[in-house]
């Protein structure tokens, strides 16, 4: 049994009386693991507590908070989920003051699964498991190294499979808009499959992910045809870091860069003409 | 430790021997170290560029190539110093035009290839000796080294026309009335005379081609210096020194005048100010003798310094502040 489960179990047991509920994962009937709010009235449910596979807990906690803004909650969150919640806090979608973070560190195997560079939490005070070094992301490096025609062909192949199920948008914790621009004919052609290349859907979504994507890879996992769309998000995240030294979810009070005026040295790094 | 590449040039070993000796004399106190470029060749002075561009620039660029190679091995400084204005200008021109006109650069490098040499324009920073002394060593250091201030010696600063124009790297304080030499001589304690012809031409090689023109140009320089009560002229260029010194007699003869205006190198005056003896500085070998001029500060008998007549208060209108490019003073400069 994974040592982290009983460490986590102990922490939740200790914290349960102090909060209205702890959001984590539970193996439900038929062995399906799903998000679950453990409450002090039903401690016995803790036996069924699970930690894998990963679920988009930040979206769930946002819904709970919207229903019960005053509720005192705790949430089990991995590095990416923690960063996701920080970004949602910056966009007034989540009130972190009412949420206690329980930092679950990923294992090497989990990190490799998500090709994650930062499989550890930074802000959470309570830590479960040992933080490990990030792993490389070979696929993104491969794409970045490709020549322009190769990239065009690669994405043409990938996007041609897309059935526009909006799964990648629905799963994403950062896509909290009530009405989505991707469903608007002005931007994305309706009734057109395959998507064509470059596809408005994916490029507009990539621009929306500027200074938002925390590389939780939920979109890639959930995509029925396995399009590695997060590659775009990670590549521009790297440029945003280089140009405006901003890392998603890293610093709580640092505002997303594209909303701010140019700071010292920013303009030179953008490569725009003088 | 101020380390530079040195391109001495032909005159430093012959007609301007005094310049070389006085330079050696002042190197030690100013902690100046020169790495002479081995196997350097003549820079073609003012004549060759006028006759045939490509071979002239190749001749000059050979020195740059040698220097670049030499400093690369010892990964030393990239600044090459030329004490003579003509050499400085030719080196600076070669470096500038090889970049400005790539076709020239290509042809010159083809020529250098024959000798197994190569020069990429911009690798070296070409500068004149006075530029190094005023801006790298600095006037304060020079002032601190003065043991025998030259008070009472009225000196006319004569920069010559090749230094400030054309000013590719925008180094000098002004292109018509630069003050670098004035400031340096003032730092030595000399009474520097405000000389309007400081960058007027001395005739250069006109003494060979059109003597009458050269004599008139020299007459103007010497007459104005004499009229302003100068004891002697200080210059930074061997060609200017030679023209005024060697041809002053013929000029007097041609115009029936009797000027006796000695002209020395500014490094000789620096040597004196640093307390060195005249013979170590090549003083005395000049044709128009500077003996009675230096009597004013006589090596043995330092002349007591009578106060210069300062303008009495309330008399006349105040002079506006001088134009200084580097320290632009209070007024803003557009």
């Amino acid at each position: 049994m994974d040592k982290r489960i009983n460490d986590l179990g102990q922490i939740i047991e200790k914290i349960l009386p102090e909060v209205d509920g702890v959001l984590g994962l539970k193996t439900g009937p038929g062995g399906i693991v799903a998000p679950h709010l453990f409450v002090k009235e039903r401690p016995e449910e803790l036996e069924l507590m699970a930690i894998w596979p990963k679920e988009p807990l930040p979206s769930v906690i946002r819904l709970i908070q919207q229903a019960h803004p005053e509720a005192k909650l705790a949430v089990v969150c991995r590095g990416c989920e923690e960063r996701g919640m920080v970004e949602m806090f910056k966009h007034a979608q989540l009130n972190l003051n009412n949420v206690t973070l329980i930092g679950l560190q990923c294992t090497q195997e989990e990190a490799e699964f998500c090709r994650c560079a930062e499989p550890f939490t930074v802000h959470a005070k309570m830590i479960v498991g040992q933080p490990i070094e990030g792993v490389a992301d070979p696929l993104t490096e491969k794409i970045a190294a490709m020549s322009q025609p190769e990239k065009l062909a690669f994405w043409k192949e990938e996007f041609s499979h897309c059935i526009k199920c909006y799964g990648c948008r629905n799963i994403c914790a950062q896509c909290f808009c009530n009405v989505c621009a991707l469903e608007d004919e002005t931007w994305v052609q309706t009734g057109h499959l395959p998507m064509g290349n470059p596809s408005m859907y994916h490029l507009v979504r990539a621009m929306h992910m500027t200074a938002k994507c925390v590389a939780c890879r939920e979109c890639e996992e959930t995509c029925p045809v396995g399009i590695p769309i997060a590659i775009h998000f990670r590549l521009i995240a790297r440029d945003v870091k280089e140009m405006f030294n901003y890392e998603t979810g890293a610093v709580i009070d640092q505002k997303p860069p594209q909303l701010l005026v140019l700071e010292e040295g920013d303009y030179e790094r953008t490569g725009l003409p003088h | 430790m101020n380390k530079y590449l040195l391109y001495p040039g032909c005159s430093m070993e012959s007609s301007a021997k005094a310049y070389m000796e006085s330079l050696n004399a002042i190197m030690e106190p100013l902690d100046l170290h020169f790495e002479e470029i081995d196997d350097w060749n003549c820079c073609g002075a003012t004549e060759y560029l006028g006759i045939n561009l490509i071979p002239a620039y190749s001749l000059i660029a050979r020195n740059l190539a040698l220097a670049a190679e030499q400093t690369k091995q010892i990964n030393g400084t990239r600044t090459i110093v030329a004490p003579c204005s003509a050499c400085y200008l030719n080196l600076a021109k070669a470096d500038y035009y090889m970049q400005e006109r790539p076709s020239l650069g290509v042809k010159v490098n083809e020529a250098l290839e024959a000798g197994g040499l190569q020069y990429k324009p911009g690798t070296l920073d070409v500068r004149h000796l006075i530029d190094i002394l005023v801006y790298d060593i600095g006037l304060d250091t020079i002032r601190s080294k003065v043991t025998r201030p030259l008070h009472g010696l009225k000196v006319v600063p004569y920069m010559g026309c090749m230094l400030p124009r054309p000013d590719y790297q925008n180094r000098w304080s002004d292109h018509e009335h630069p003050t670098e030499l004035n400031d340096l001589l003032r730092a030595l304690g000399a009474d520097v005379i405000d000389y309007p012809l400081t960058t007027s031409c001395c005739g250069g090689h006109m003494t060979q081609i059109g003597p009458e023109t050269a004599f008139e140009l020299i007459r103007r320089l010497v007459a104005d210096a004499d009229e302003r009560g100068a004891h002697l002229m200080a210059t930074v260029c061997p060609m200017c020194q030679m023209n005024i010194d060697a041809y002053q007699n013929e000029t007097n003869h041609y115009f029936g005048t009797h000027y006796h205006m000695p002209v020395l190198f500014f490094t000789q005056l620096m040597g004196l100010a640093f307390g060195r003896e005249p013979d170590e500085l090549g003083i005395g070998i000049e044709l128009v003798s500077s003996r009675n001029a230096l009597a004013n500060i006589g090596v043995e008998v330092p002349v007591t310094q009578e106060p210069t007549a300062k303008r009495k208060k309330d008399e006349g209108l105040p002079m506006p502040r001088r134009w200084t490019k580097h320290g632009a003073g209070k007024e803003t400069v557009k």
Binding site: Q93, C177, V179, P256, L259 | H177, L317, R322
Partner: protein
């Protein structure tokens, strides 16, 4: 999408005489546009902006029930307002109108006729498919603050302040120096009439001084400006004078008794002296002195206090502090004037090195009876009267090393100096000019008169002024080396004195001042007017006007005219009591908004506030200036900018692209 169906568009293609019709086949464009979707009528006409052209539109709106108008003609900068008013008069909301710029951005810039016509069609189609999606907008009316701020107390600022104050409106006149008067107060005579400058200026200054509608704030500067036309809030910093203005009688005893003499670099142009406590000149308005902290012995060493001892009303306040006051004004007039070109930069003219080379302002102080030499024209030694004077024109102007432009006043100024030298000293006078520019009323007559007085004119650019004499007659003189282009030879003219008629330059801080007032500067850093010919005193920022030399070199009559013009523009705005402000402001679709506050972070005017209870953003239309940065940042597109919505911009783009693509297919079929 139903509004698209009801759209009945009228297209009007303008010939603009031959400006457009000379290159674009306007008739073909009109016919082609007729069968664009929703186009009901498509005409072409010689001059759409003429009253007949406008009536054409009005008649069609009334008779054919048009509810959208497109005019393909010149730039909207020129006639958007004209055609909007025409639609308004015909009862059609002015925002249901769109222009296609087929003159400045097509006919005038394309030589190939067929390409120009194709581009005109594409631009017209773009305008048509945009106008269909435009909605009627009502401009927000905002009350006008009647107070006016005038910055700069020179002649232009004085004229503007007086005209506005006389019309019964209150003016705050802010001047950086201790007294108003500007450069004109330094002059002795003015051309061409040779009126004494002080005599014609001081009466106006006195009027300003005791005008009930003018609050005079000298020795003060504007720190910040917020708000918009009709509702500016201006923060003004009133520097400490160290003199209590309520007690001071202006008797001047303090100036007499003050022991510290300082060279007056500003008013006396460095030629004369003033005390540490001073008023710039006797007729100063207001006549309260100012203590110059840098030179006052009390502030330097804590001793002296002579002025305090002798000040009978006890008005000296050493502990006085700077004050800042915030005022509400509806309009602003900038009349900040010019700086003189620094003649030192032309090192070969020797100013600053050769004693007897004077600048124009120095000479003005020499000839001025109240100047340091009580009007005697003398050399730098303060005694000798010059027997020969050389006046050099265009110093620093019309020169690619310094300022390319002509500074307008230096020729007349040079002629005035020539006359004054003749009158005062009888010396021989040389004027060195490139072109004699005496263009305005009675200017050339003055030139003739100076000619007849025996002034020697040499046409040529002076190469050098030197004191290195070559010949005996040049000893002790300033030799002017010049190429006399009429005589066709080099000349060396020895003179005793040289006067440099220097050019004008933008104020050293004009860029910062422009930034503060939200206007922009040209490459030479003069303030940019709304339109060089048609709107010289307005700027692109509504409510901010410019007058006088700050907009470019000009003489006193033009500065006064511009001062009055700016005042008239301001009074016409005040007269409207209310002003329509930008109707195309941002608006939030509260149903879609998710309250992520991205729009609030990008808004340069903090015009968007967060409704905490609903968790939605809301636009304060009075503050919104319609830049649309929020619409560009909102991901779900819930905030949009009226009249520049995504749908409108995309339709405009599609209209143009579709036309270009159709032309391609036609030419492809023709080729096949």
């Amino acid at each position: 999408m139903n509004e698209k169906k009801q759209a009945r568009v009228g297209v009007y293609v303008c010939h603009c005489g031959s400006n457009i019709a000379g290159v674009v086949d306007v008739v073909d464009v009109a016919h082609w546009a007729a069968n664009l979707p929703n186009v009901v009528v498509s005409r072409e006409y010689k001059f759409m902006c003429s009253s007949l052209g406008q009536e054409l539109i009005q008649k069609d709106i009334q008779e054919m029930g048009l509810n959208r108008i497109v005019v393909a003609s010149c730039s909207p900068q020129l006639h958007e307002a004209t055609f909007r008013n025409a639609c308004d008069r015909a009862g059609l909301n002015p925002y249901l109108f769109e222009m296609a710029n087929i003159r400045e951005q097509d006919a005038w810039v394309t030589s190939d006729k067929t390409e120009a016509t194709k581009k005109a069609k594409a631009l017209t189609a773009a305008a048509v498919s945009r106008v269909i999606h435009q909605e009627p907008l009502e401009a927000l009316l905002v009350p006008i603050e009647s107070n006016v701020l005038v910055v700069g107390g020179g002649i232009a600022g004085i004229q503007a302040a007086l005209e506005i104050a006389d019309s019964g409106n209150h003016v705050y006149l802010v001047e950086r120096e201790p007294s108003i008067g500007g450069h004109m107060a330094q002059f002795d005579k003015t051309f061409p009439t040779l009126d004494c400058s002080a005599c014609i200026l001081t009466p106006k200054m006195v009027n300003v001084g005791n005008h009930k509608n003018i609050t005079l704030l000298t020795w003060s500067e504007v720190e910040a400006v917020d708000g918009y036309v009709g509702n500016f809030t201006v923060t003004i910093r009133k520097k400490a004078r160290y003199v209590d203005e309520s007690l001071c009688t202006g008797c001047g005893v303090c100036q007499e008794k003050c022991p510290k003499r300082v060279i007056d670099e500003v008013f006396e142009a460095g030629l004369g002296y003033r005390k540490a406590i001073y008023t710039p000149f006797p007729q100063a308005v207001p006549n309260y002195p100012v203590i110059d902290r840098e030179n006052c012995t009390y502030f330097l060493k804590g001793t002296c206090k002579a002025c305090e001892k002798f000040c009978e009303p006890g008005a000296i306040r050493f502990d006085q502090k700077d004050e800042t006051l915030a005022v509400k004004v509806g309009n602003i007039i900038l009349a900040t004037g010019y700086d003189l070109f620094d003649a030192r930069r032309v090192s070969n003219y020797g100013y600053g090195r050769l004693p007897n080379v004077f600048t124009s302002l120095e000479f003005e102080r020499l000839t001025n009876a109240a100047g340091p030499t009580s009007g005697n024209v003398v050399l730098r030694d303060g005694k000798t009267t010059p027997k020969s004077v050389g006046i050099i024109h265009c110093v620093g102007s019309r020169d690619k090393n310094f300022n390319n432009y002509c500074s307008v006043i230096c020729c007349m100024q040079g002629l005035k100096f020539a006359h004054l030298v003749h009158e005062r000293t009888g010396a021989t006078v040389y004027n060195f000019y490139i072109d004699m520019r005496t263009a305005y009323k009675a200017y050339d007559e003055f030139y003739q008169r100076v000619l007849e007085e025996g002034t020697l004119f040499v046409r040529g650019k002076v190469a050098e002024v030197t004191d290195a004499a070559r010949y005996s007659n040049e000893k002790g003189k300033l030799i002017i080396q010049v190429e006399d282009t009429l005589a066709g030879k080099q000349r060396r003219i020895p003179v005793d004195m040289v006067i440099l008629s220097s050019g004008l330059q933008a104020r050293a801080d004009s860029k910062e001042v422009a930034q503060k007032f939200g206007i922009s500067c040209s490459a030479d850093e003069w303030f940019i007017e709304k339109h060089p010919k048609l709107d010289p005193v307005a700027t692109m920022t509504d409510g901010v006007f410019i007058a006088g030399a700050c907009q470019g070199p000009k003489d006193i009559p033009s500065s006064v005219a511009q001062g009055a013009a700016a005042a008239a523009r301001v009074m016409s705005i005040i007269g409207q009591k209310e002003i329509q402000i930008e109707a195309a402001t941002a608006i939030v679709d509260e149903e879609n908004c998710v309250g992520c506050q991205q729009c609030m972070a990008v808004c340069p005017y903090q015009a968007i506030l967060y409704l905490a209870d609903k968790g939605k953003a809301h636009v304060n239309e009075a503050l919104c200036k319609g830049c649309g940065t929020c619409a560009g940042a909102c991901l779900p597109k819930s905030i949009s900018l009226k009249h520049f919505t995504d749908l409108q911009l995309v339709s405009e783009m599609v209209g143009a692209m579709q036309t270009m693509k159709d032309f391609e297919t036609i030419s492809a079929e023709v080729a096949a």
